[in-house]
């Protein structure tokens, strides 16, 4: 087993000694906690090593299915969960152990499946030797449970996050948001899916159960002992040379000849992708950051920026058993070119489900009552928005609760800035580099990739909760250094 190698300034060796370095060995011997429903496919590392020509060879492992968290108890209206934020070990390179930080010690963290209208309380216990917190990305969450960068859980402490789940079905995710540290803590594993379902979605008859698969994508690099290698790059952000899907190197997924619902999350620090299936086969996008689109959109190339989510329905009944189709990243080279591969096996084919032509109606929203312009650029020593960096003592904007505002992001740099607003959703209005993609016009978003020298306008709706939130660039190195401003939604 390799020694635990922590992020350089998130954890010091002295901390490690003080907080019980030796207990790690014990942690590593514990299999996945009993509260987890499913475990990934087990293949011995020796067998994998014997087969593989290089530990990085793609398509050697089956796509791990991320376990779902079960509530510790439930009442008539609410489910209670408990999560320990702790260290763990993951076998990512065959035959190597990779130290990680993980929710319940696993990477990606366990998926929470929630239902609209049913409250969830997650007690997060921080067993790490430094502060942490949890942000539910894309969720309508009261400010005190949002995971504001300054609301942290002290080392050894815990906090109950209340999620009302009063929003339409969507693929959300939860991750660490302690200020100045996210580029390392997310890279080392503190990210996980939060799938919110509702009755409307159930009525559509979309693929469920084992045919509804959340997939977390991230780029990583490795050291010779198998540990994650992190090199800070405040300019372009971290770029790894290997793509992990659900914690496996460009895995394969055995699919039956039928339709699958695939929920993709780009949990990379700063890498943008362009997804492409095979040589450009059609994929049907049904949902984005904020849930279902008004209608499905056929796509062949999908730009995919950090923190965005994309839900696809892919019909594998058009393929014969034995056929293989690669989902690739058109912008990648070498180890970052292939995301995963679908291996078609038998079964299915008699399915008569068709993706409905209407998925949901667009809801009326009030007309905009303010315009704000945010200039994104590099200052003397830090990334800035309107020439300012994050100051928790300062409020940079005070939108009225329930109002909408046109926010214009003007990118004055030559880097992509995936801009994310906490706690609220927005609609895309226009962008200067190209027409807004149809799929982006037909749904809600919470993150938009603003391209170099581009201007993007969105219509943000500041409902349903008042309070202090932040908005920031989701290239984590930019957010940490300190491309983030604070808003207070007032009544």
């Amino acid at each position: 087993m390799s020694a635990w190698r922590p992020p350089a300034d998130a954890w010091t060796r002295r901390d490690a000694l003080r907080n019980g370095f030796s207990s790690l060995a014990l942690l590593c011997t514990i299999a996945s906690p009993s509260s987890l429903r499913r475990t990934s496919t087990e293949v011995t590392s020796a067998a994998l090593r014997a087969q593989a020509r290089s530990p990085f060879e793609p398509f050697r492992r089956d796509l791990p299915i991320v376990p779902e968290l079960l509530p510790v108890n439930s009442t008539r209206t609410q489910d209670n969960y408990e999560i320990a934020i702790r260290e763990g070990m993951a076998e990512i390179l065959p035959g190597f152990q990779t130290p990680i930080y993980g929710y319940e010690g696993i990477y990606p963290g366990p998926t929470i499946r929630a239902r609209k209208g049913r409250k969830i309380v997650v007690r997060q216990r921080n067993t790490l030797p430094f502060e942490s917190n949890v942000h539910l990305h894309g969720g309508y969450v009261p400010a005190e449970s949002d995971g504001h960068p300054m609301d942290v859980i002290a080392a050894g402490g815990s906090f109950d996050y209340h999620y009302p789940n009063q929003q339409d079905a969507a693929t959300l995710w939860y991750h660490d948001h302690a200020h100045g540290r996210t580029s390392k803590t997310l890279y080392y594993g503190l990210n996980a899916m939060y799938v919110l379902e509702d009755d409307l979605e159930t009525e559509l008859g979309l693929p469920q159960g084992e045919y509804d698969v959340p997939i977390v994508i991230g780029d990583h690099a490795f050291n010779r002992d198998g540990s994650f290698r992190y090199a800070e790059n405040v300019d372009v952000g971290f770029r790894g040379d290997t793509i992990l899907a659900n914690g496996a190197i460009s895995p394969r997924m055995r699919v039956q000849r039928r339709k699958y619902r695939l929920r993709f999350l780009n949990a990379s620090n700063a890498r943008s992708y362009t997804l492409k299936l095979g040589k450009g086969r059609a994929m049907t996008q049904i949902a984005g950051d904020g849930g279902l689109l008004q209608r499905p959109v056929a796509r062949t190339r999908i730009p995919f920026h950090p923190a965005e989510r994309i839900e696809l329905v892919i019909d594998f009944s058009q393929y014969a058993p034995g056929e293989q189709i690669v989902l690739s990243n058109e912008e990648g080279t070498g180890g970052t070119a292939s995301i995963m591969r679908f291996d078609v096996v038998g079964g299915g084919s008699s399915e008569d489900f068709q993706v409905p032509r209407r998925l949901r109606d667009s809801e009326p929203i009030p007309a905009a009552n303010a315009r704000r312009r945010w200039e994104l650029g590099l200052g003397a020593a830090a990334w800035q928005i309107n020439g300012k960096t994050f100051d928790p003592a300062r409020i940079d904007a005070r939108p009225r609760l329930g109002s909408t505002e046109i926010w214009t992001f003007v990118n004055r740099s030559n880097r992509v800035h995936p801009m994310h607003i906490h706690g609220f959703l927005f609609r895309m209005l226009e962008r200067t580099s190209r027409p807004v993609d149809l799929a982006d016009r037909l749904g809600w978003k919470d993150t938009v990739g603003v391209m170099p020298d581009e201007t993007v306008s969105v219509l943000a709706w500041f409902a349903p909760y008042a309070g202090k939130y932040v908005f920031h660039c989701h290239a984590l190195e930019h957010a940490d250094k300190a491309m983030m401003l604070q808003i207070e939604v007032v009544k």
Partner: protein, 233 residues
């Protein structure tokens, strides 16, 4: 045997390349032009020599006060403008540092004597493990072989027709009964690999053309076959 000696000699040459190249070295003091003196320097600031060889520090041409002082050896040199050259002969393997006492920060240098052991490599946890896997050359592996439809036999049954055929792989088969140019009956069935039998019923008495076409599961079409059948009422 001779070859072995030659190989050993070649190995020795490769293993100690600097032994053949090193000789006495001269280090020149160079004035900086920056107002804060931050670019005063030695040229070169790292020299490699063998045991018993000599390094000479020269100040010729300088217009600022300089001298040289060894960290772990001693040379007689005091600050002066274009002071006299000083030399030192190194008699032991090791790494020796020197500097100018007046410009200690920028003007530092190192004498490496002999073949000092290289610094230990960083631990594995700090060595990059680059991904050497190439990008996939094929983005899709598809079945592009057309299936073969053969042994098509049609016989009549009561108010219908029995169609027998062989298909080289599983697929979907369409059977059309035609009368003149008009299609009067169409049946689509999932066919297995090998022999299959399909009975088309509820057909009026008469003489029909039968067209059998097939596609495999990935949609590749087989060459269709034709036959004729007379159905009796």
């Amino acid at each position: 045997m001779r070859r072995r000696i030659a190989a050993a000699a070649a190995f020795a040459f490769l293993a100690f390349p600097s032994a053949a190249l090193a000789a006495d070295q001269t280090v020149q003091a160079v004035d900086g032009t920056a107002p804060d003196g931050s670019d005063n320097r030695w040229s070169p600031n790292v020299v490699d020599i063998q045991v018993g060889e000599k390094v000479t520090w020269t100040f010729a041409g300088t217009q600022l006060f300089h001298n040289v002082k060894g960290v772990n050896f001693t040379v007689p040199s005091s600050p002066a403008v274009a002071g006299p050259d000083v030399s030192y002969t190194f008699d032991a393997v090791g790494i020796y540092e020197f500097f100018c006492e007046l410009h200690a920060q920028p003007m530092r240098g190192t004498v490496r004597v002999g073949n000092p052991p290289p610094p230990p490599p960083p631990p594995l946890s700090e060595q990059p493990f680059p991904n050497d896997a190439p990008a996939p050359a094929t983005l899709e592996l598809l079945d592009e072989t057309a299936p073969a439809l053969s042994s098509v036999r049609v016989s009549r049954v009561s108010r219908g027709a029995r169609v027998r055929f062989r298909l080289s792989e599983a697929g979907r088969v369409t059977i059309k009964l035609t009368r003149g140019n008009r299609v009067v009956k169409t049946r689509r069935v999932d066919a297995r690999r090998g022999a299959n039998t399909v009975i088309v019923r509820s057909v009026r008495a008469g003489r029909y053309g039968v067209q059998v076409s097939a596609r495999d599961l990935s949609g590749n079409p087989a060459r269709s076959k034709r036959a004729r059948v007379t159905v009796r009422g």
